[in-house]
């Protein structure tokens, strides 16, 4: 049984840390306070990702034929761990490189690859995902946004909601339907956000200004060449995309950073000697460790190209527990920080609330794990 980081991996980690040390500005904590989805970070991502691109680290995990460097899954993950611990300065662009790119590699045509890859590789574009709708959250297949076939393309009408990054997005990975019902009628359109008829409206929310939006489409024309894959193939593509999205985001690294920070503060105030404080700190620490090691298993599965199982669902659930435990710890022992003194603590509190909802209600993941991992039957359909 081999175990541990290799000297090359350790050097790689040091390299990423040095880069962060060098490239993050003095006011980074202010920029990062509302998390990777905020407008401030979205704007900063264009500066930071350009630097990453210059260093050859933005798309280094992509295959050589697409301009990457065939970086291993573990090296990519190590970098993600360091970036997340620093507050994820790639902002929304982690999505470009982690799943938009890989999805286009697999399902895009040559013209689409030629158009989008250089933009993503230069760190200058922001994609948003047009998935959730007012009547289609966890039940994504019931989405209603229409894509009517017209000459040369599609005419899109409808609305998306809870869309992250939309305010500054240049592109949208948009789901719409060509007929009234069924998964088979859904298409994926690669939409230019400057198209006439696209309107973005911010939704004020507890997780911070600029984080989530409504996007309205009124007779938006999308050229036929912007269809991804074939008509009828959308569900397969979405499943592939979500698999790439949900695994390997080392959010626990951020929770752990917040916990360490809290311990340092309490220590400085002489409050960390209290056995109750130490007990609760130990509790939160154990949950962060458990989440980290569970994510390592998911990464291992990916590195060895093992078939995807529901383990990733369990790992995500563990990450949420860690988020909550760190938040509970800070709320219990540093209430003054939560009530106004400490913007980072407030932001973590908000993120912990959203942790089980953003990127899909966690209960749905539990349903999936129950079916795929424990072989428990599906919920009975209620008859009308």
């Amino acid at each position: 049984m081999e175990f541990g980081w290799s000297p090359e991996q350790t050097a790689h980690r040091e390299n990423v840390r040095a880069l962060l040390e060098r490239e993050l500005p003095a006011d980074w904590d202010d920029i990062a306070v509302h998390g990777p989805g905020s407008d401030a970070q979205t704007a900063f991502s264009k500066i930071f990702c350009k630097k990453l691109a210059d260093e050859g680290l933005l798309i280094s995990h992509w295959p050589k034929e697409y301009g990457g460097n065939d970086m291993t899954v573990w090296d990519q993950f190590l970098m993600g761990e360091e970036l997340w611990a620093a507050g994820e300065p790639r902002g929304p662009q982690y999505m470009n490189v982690n799943w938009i790119g890989p999805v286009l590699m697999r399902y895009g045509n040559e013209a689409q690859k030629a158009e989008y890859f250089p933009q993503i590789a230069s760190g200058s574009v922001i994609w948003c995902q047009g998935f959730s709708e007012p009547s289609a959250g966890s039940d994504l297949a019931s989405l209603r946004t229409k894509a009517d076939k017209v000459e040369g393309g599609y005419l899109v009408n409808g609305a998306k909601i809870w869309t992250s990054y939309a305010g500054l997005a240049t592109h949208c990975f948009l789901l719409a339907r060509t007929a009234s019902a069924g998964k088979g009628a859904i298409v994926i359109l690669l939409l230019d956000m400057t198209s006439p008829g696209v309107q973005v409206k911010q939704i004020p929310a507890l997780i911070g200004e600029g984080d989530i939006h409504e996007v309205f489409f009124t007779d938006v024309f999308v050229p036929a060449e912007n269809l991804l894959g074939e008509e009828g193939q959308a569900w397969e593509i979405i499943t592939f995309a979500l698999q790439n999205e949900r695994i390997g985001i080392p959010r626990y690294a951020f929770s752990r950073r917040m916990l360490d920070r809290a311990a340092e503060k309490l220590k400085a105030d002489g409050r960390f000697e209290n056995p109750v404080v130490r007990d609760r700190a130990g509790r939160a620490l154990a949950l962060c460790e458990a989440a980290r090691l569970m994510v390592y298993r998911v990464v291992h599965q990916r590195a060895t190209k093992a078939p995807q199982d529901a383990y990733g669902n369990l790992a995500r659930w563990a990450i949420i527990q860690a988020d909550h435990a760190v938040n509970d710890f800070m709320t219990e022992f540093m209430p003054e920080g939560l009530l106004g003194e400490d913007q980072m603590q407030i932001a973590h509190h908000q993120r912990a609330i959203a942790a089980g909802i953003a990127s899909g209600a966690a209960e749905i993941q539990l349903n999936l794990a129950a079916r795929r991992y424990l072989d428990l039957p599906s919920e009975p359909r209620r008859g009308l």
Binding site: M1, G4, L366, L376
Partner: protein, 330 residues
């Protein structure tokens, strides 16, 4: 990162190594008040179960704590007497004290050992009625005593906890001693392993029942209220397994953070076992709290092991102590 999880070969090895468990130690034996795992003590010693991670020249099997953790996870599933991990730790303690002859006699099964936990005012002995030696765990490490050195023993209970519990004042003059630095991580790892086994066994029990038991015309496992408990339990099992195997490999390879990892594995495992044994009872409904059902046996044993570890609170504080930033309490 290369991988730290048990491979198929190791699992198979442990499977074949523990094949007699089902026959010798079915969980149902705990329903018999007269049962004692010490009836099979010599047999267990002959299988090499007490010295799996000790070198062959010291009378062990010569494998590592990685295999030992897998073995004790199996023991957890079968609710084997805590005396068995007492024997493993006692042999290590004797050997650390330079008393190899005593270590060999323990490993050979000649001296049945029980385990106890020291608190401020005294010690709690677990399943110690047939033991000739008692290993007392404390925050300072482990101390081994001949049974006769422990006086004023008082039987607390034999039935409520499905195992004999006794109390006694803290004894003096141990025959062998190991410091917390020397033995603490081993103790944490073996307790965590058994608790992980308990968490896994109760998950399987709960899921099997949720698939079988029908209400409103369907299996109760189809209801989200039940299946979400089950998935939560599955998360606890996987968290406990992964932290346990990470800690075991860290110890086997002498990684600098092995004490932190063992402390972490223990906290995660206690939580997993307490959560899963509790939810298993809930999912079993009325059956769950009947004496006839095995569910209560797992909950009780989880609490006994938690107590032997010094309690959940102390275990969390010990983890905080190992963290580089949190550091030592004054």
């Amino acid at each position: 990162m290369s991988i730290f999880h048990a491979n198929a070969e190791q699992l198979e090895l442990i499977d074949s190594f523990t094949r007699p468990l089902e026959e010798l130690f079915p969980v149902a034996r705990l329903h018999q008040p007269a049962h004692t795992d010490y009836d099979n003590w010599v047999t267990a010693a002959e299988f090499g179960w007490f010295g799996i991670s000790l070198p062959e020249e010291a009378g062990g099997i010569g494998l590592s704590v990685v295999e030992e953790a897998l073995l004790f996870a199996k023991f957890g599933r079968h609710l084997i007497s805590p005396g068995f991990f007492g024997a493993s730790l006692a042999a290590k303690t004797a050997s650390l004290s330079g008393n190899n002859e005593l270590a060999q006699r323990i490993l050979g099964g000649e001296i049945p050992v029980a385990i106890a936990r020291q608190a401020a005012s005294g010690i709690t002995l677990v399943d110690a009625e047939q033991a000739k030696f008692v290993l007392v765990l404390s925050a300072q490490g482990a101390a081994l005593y001949p049974a006769e050195a422990i006086t004023q023993r008082k039987l607390l209970d034999r039935t409520q906890w499905s195992i004999a519990l006794e109390s006694a004042p803290i004894p003096g003059n141990p025959i062998a001693l190991a410091s917390e630095e020397a033995i603490g991580a081993d103790a944490k790892l073996l307790i965590a392993a058994q608790l992980t086994g308990i968490a896994a066994a109760t998950l399987e029990m709960a899921v099997a029942y949720a698939q079988l038991r029908q209400q409103f015309g369907v299996a109760i496992g189809s209801f989200q209220a039940i299946k979400h408990y089950c998935t939560d339990m599955a998360m606890h099992v996987q968290a406990a397994r992964d932290t346990l195997s990470f800690a075991a490999v860290a110890m086997a390879e002498g990684r600098s953070d092995y004490r932190f990892q063992a402390a972490s594995a223990l906290v995660v495992a206690i939580r997993a076992a307490l959560f899963n044994t509790g939810k298993n009872i809930q999912i079993h409904g009325g059956m769950g709290f009947s004496a006839e059902c095995d569910a209560h046996l797992f909950l009780k044993r989880a609490h006994v092991l938690e107590t032997l570890a010094g309690g959940l609170k102390a275990s969390r504080a010990a983890l905080a102590h190992e963290h580089s930033i949190f550091g030592a309490a004054a």
